[in-house]
Every structure is written in C-alpha cells, then in structure tokens.
Amino acid sequence: MVQAIWARGKDSTLKMKQPLSSSISPELLLKMYVTMVKIRKFEERVADLVISKEIVTPTHLYIGEEAVATGVCSTLKKQDYVFSTHRSHGHYLAKGGDLKALMAELYCKKTGCSRGKGGSMHVASPEMGLPGSSAIVGGTIPIAVGAALAFSMQNSDAISAAFFGDGAAHEGVFYESLNFASLKKLPVIFVCENNLYCTHLSVVDTLADTNIYKKAEAFAMPGVRIDGNDISEVYETAKRAVENARQSRGPTLIEAMTYRWRGHVGPYDDLDKGLRSKEELDCWMQRCPVRKLEKHLLKQGATSQLEINQIHKTISEEIEKAVEFARESPYPDENDLLHDVHK
C-alpha cells in the first residue's frame, strides 16, 4: 500500500528520505524539538496508562505525526484559533495547552481541561486558542472557517487553523468549507494530516484521487503537499500560508504526509490485525520526525547530547507530575451531570 502512495505522491514535494535542512533559527528549531519530544513522551506514557487501564477514554495517539502540529502551531500566535480532531493531544500540546489539565482529562477528572466531560477526543484550551476538538470526522473544518469569518468581521488579524485527517476528505463538509472559505477569502488554513489511513482503510481504498492537496484547485485555492515528518518544511509552508491568511489573501490547503505508528485507536501497533505491513511501519519509523530534527540539531551543533538528555528528563518529570496530578484529582461529582447543558 505504501508503494501506491509513493507512486501517487511523485508529483508532490515529498522528500522523505532526505535529512532535514533548514534555514529556521536554531533557537526556534530547538523550541520545536522540545514540543515534539513533549508530545512523543506524553503519548508514550498515555499508551502505558491505557494498557494498565488507568486511562479508559478512547485515545488516538499522535506518535509519528508530531512535526505537523508542532510546525503549524509554531507559526501561530496565542490569539489564533486551532481546531482539532479525535487525535487531539498533539494539537493541544503544540498550541500550548496545559499538560496537567490534558492528562487529567484523559483520566476524566474534574481538573481536566474539559472538566472530565470530554475525554480524549474533546479537549479545549480556550485561553491558549484551542476552542475545542470534535470526534466527528470533518466536524471542525467549517467551525474553523466560521472563526475566520468572525476574525475578518472584527478586523482582527487573528487567523484560524483546522487540523483534520485524510478521512475528512471523504466528507462533503470538507468541500463545502473549502468553497466557503475561498469564496469569502477568509483567514483560515486547512491542515490535512494524511497518515494514509482512515481507521482500517487505506487512502487508496477510499479516495478516487489520493492527492488531497489537489482538491484545493477546484476551489481556486492554493494546495500543497509536504513532508509532514520534516519540521522545517511544515513550518515554512505553514508560515507562508498563515502570512497569506493574515494579509487577507485567503486560505490555503496543506496536505502533510505523515504516519501514525500505533493503531487507529489505543496503544498497540495493531500489526496483528493485518491492515498494514511491518515493512511499512518500519519504513515510516525510520522517518521519525523527532529523530530527524534531533540529528539535524546535533549535526548543526545547535544542541548537545547532554542538553537533549536533559530535555528528555525534564519532560519526563513534567509528565510524571501530570500523572500524579491526574491520579489525585477528584472525579466529577454526580451533581455535575446535569450542569453545563446550557450556560
């Protein structure tokens, strides 16, 4: 299957096997590295906690896709809105959401970022510009467009970004949203995380043309396919798109090619389910976005192995504190059930 995608992707800008090269400042790259490691380690810890049944809410892990959320969100300001999906943890952390509150939400505790009412698929950080995520495929795409409409009405220079998977390109609402956003030249960017699968189905089984970025053409909008595992490429592309949006030059569709290392949902790689091959997974693990950046930073002398070890240690500690926090937090009270239906 992966072959099919490579073939179809030929005309795109994929350069997945090449080492990272970048004109981004070492400081920013390092900052993004920290975010990516945070996401990676957070998700790995979550996987353990799911296996040990401490976490019950269905978790869709972002492992392998870290560069997309990190690269895109690094081009955004706090005031900018990001809308997320069922695979939400990476977006939440990249947009600056509080790690403790996220972990507590996965425990469905009252201290969670959605007060225990949302679980993994419904996280929000209103203060950091993440007004929610939806478990419905394609669900947040028009919502992001609406936020962009509001910003344009308010003459704010804020912009809005919608993250969604390749599966969202099956849903009509995706096309309606592209049309509306382009028609009104709204400040929104569409970020498709094409990880080649929609649950058990490969993109080739579900899309007549798997070049998702090309759908933008049909709506007079620029569309570009990039290596989603290359933080530099993600950042640079998003930056241009965000700039265009801010300058009222309209929306952009970015298709970031990436891969989830784990199964659709849950902690395991699900290779035993026979839906993808070990070779395919291995091939993508070799293209690890975190390692790629790490190698680059070391090669450029922008960091040292010592510093990297320290980063990992600090993040691990932060995550453990979050686990403690989540464990010790109270569950929502029975009386909370009927609250929050209306304001």
């Binding site: 007060r115 419904h122 209103p126 609406g146 509001a150 910003f151 009405m153 308010q154 028609l183 239906v341």
Partner: protein, 355 residues
Amino acid sequence: MQGKAPTRMKTTFSTMCTNEDYEEHEVNFMRKINFAQAINETLCQLIDKNNHVFLIGQGVTSPWYVGSTTVGLIQRFGSKRVIDTPTSENAVTGVALGAALARMHPILCFPRMDFMYYAMDQIANHIANWHYMFGGQLNTPVTLWAIINRGGEQAAQHSQAIQAIFTHIPGLKVVAPSTPYDAKGLLVTCVEEDNPVVYIDDRWLYQYEGEVPEELYSVPIGKGVVRHKGEDVTVVATSYMVHEAIKAAEQLEKEKIKTEVVDLRSLKPLDENLLLTSVKKTGRLVIADGGWKTCGITAEISARIAENDIFKSIKAPIIRVSLPDTPAPASSSLEKVYYPNAKKIMLAVKRVLEM
C-alpha cells in the same frame, strides 16, 4: 405561572402582553405590525445595535426567499453583516458555530426546516454539545432561525415542521412565538442568550398583526402565557396552532364551552407550571402542535401530565391534535385533511368533554 399570573388579560388575540416583565412597555402599545414585519424590524435593530450580531443563511438577501422578513437588510448593513450563502447547509452551520466561538452571535437562517437535515451533524453533534463537552467553558450563542414553510402543494420535502427533533436534543433551547409581540421579544432574547436557541417561525403566522413596541424588549424563554381564559378544558398549543386554538375557543364559547388556551411559546424549557396550573383547574387537556404525532411535542406534553401527581385529577384522556404520521402530500385535497386546524381542535375538545 402561579405568583406570576397575568395581570391583564383579554380574550381577543392581538393584545397579549401579559407578563409583568414587559408591563413597562404598555404605553407604546399602539402600533400594529404583522409577524413578518416584527421579525424584519427586530433583525434590523439587533444587527444595528450589536456589533457582534450578524445574519447568515441561504436566501437572506433574496427579495422573496424568506417572505419579507429580511427585506432591506442587505441594503442597510451590506454583505459583511448579512451573508447570503451557497446551499451548503452543513458547512454554513459550522461556520455559524465557529463565529460564535469567536465572540460573535450569528442568526442562522434556514428558509425551510426541511433543509436542516443537511445541517444536522453541525446542529446536533456540534452546536448542541459544545458547551457541555468542554465542561461549560465555551459558549455557542447561535440563533437557529428555523422556518416552517408548508402548504401550497409543496409536498413532502418542502413542508416539514420538525420542532420535536430539536426539542429532543439536549443542549438546544427551542422557542416558538405565535404573536408579533413574541416574535420580536423572543428573537431579542435569543440574541441575549449565550446558548444556542432554535427559533421556530411558521410562515403561516406572517400575516397576523399585533401590537409591537418599536424599541427592543425581551420575552423570557421558558414562560408560556394564557391566551384565552376558560374553566372547562385546557388547550395547550404551540406556534401557529395557538391561533387555531383561539379560533376554536371563540367558536366553542358560543356553545358555552369555556376553553383555556395556553400558548407555550417555549418548547424547551417548557413552562410546566403554567401547564399544570391550567390543567389542574380544567381537568381536561387537548394538545395542539403542527408537527408529527409520534414522539412529537404533543407526546411530551401529554407525558408531562401523566408523570405528574395532577394526573389523578384528570377527568378524561388527553387528546393530541397534530399531523398524522404521514409525509406531507402535494394535493390541496389532501393538504386540507392533513393539517390540524381549529375544527380538529373543536372536535377534540368536545370529545374530552364527553369522556
């Protein structure tokens, strides 16, 4: 209503400002306009007064699409505040939600309820759940202006009155004004709300005239009102059916049957107090709603009585006057029997009085 009982009550229809809340406006009760004009004026004033309010939906700049309710708005406010859209109901609904999350208050127009099915994912999965799903942190103040447009041999896909579906879904409030006064007051309240509200508007109401103050005022959500006093039987009605109920009551009066007509005004939350007070008094209930019967509004009202202690003092079965469980037919010969009306209410009243 208990302590909040109407302080002034007329049996004719056009003057029904009876709630203390807006007593203060009585001085202005001179000008009569019709229901459609009331909506038009309110939209105009709300958009004018509030920077964060805008109108969006298919047809809002059209001279005929939504009756005369949006006439002049595009000329006055321009295409930034009055946004006509492609027929992309689902996306446009999501757009409204997104705008609400960015501190706007969209009034989202559906020229027909039938088209709302396309938008059901955004309405039910997203708008209705958003506040709850994130633990009350985010508000989604969207007014879903849902228009019922039926009759005239338009048939099954252009005639639906699916208020029950929205009333069923938690997270949505549902209002259904029956008078120009309430059309204005409830629309104002919708925009004052931080919650999504489905504002049900029946085009069969557009020609009804009534006194409407020029300035903005609000009518509370969740408060019904008695439109016609009586002791023998209660008719609880919604939206357009309120008028049919009043017609029936006036007719029945000639036959010495004293009918109390309760206009619910809000379908969710529902003014249970008012409902129970009236039914307690009369002991007999007929429910009239323009939607389908099964799992409809009439079912809910009936069940509210049946689950209440008051139930023991009920003297006759509760009759529902509604659409039969049938799609809308085209032929006027069938429309005539399809739609509930004053005559059917009268028959129902007589039946409950006989039983």
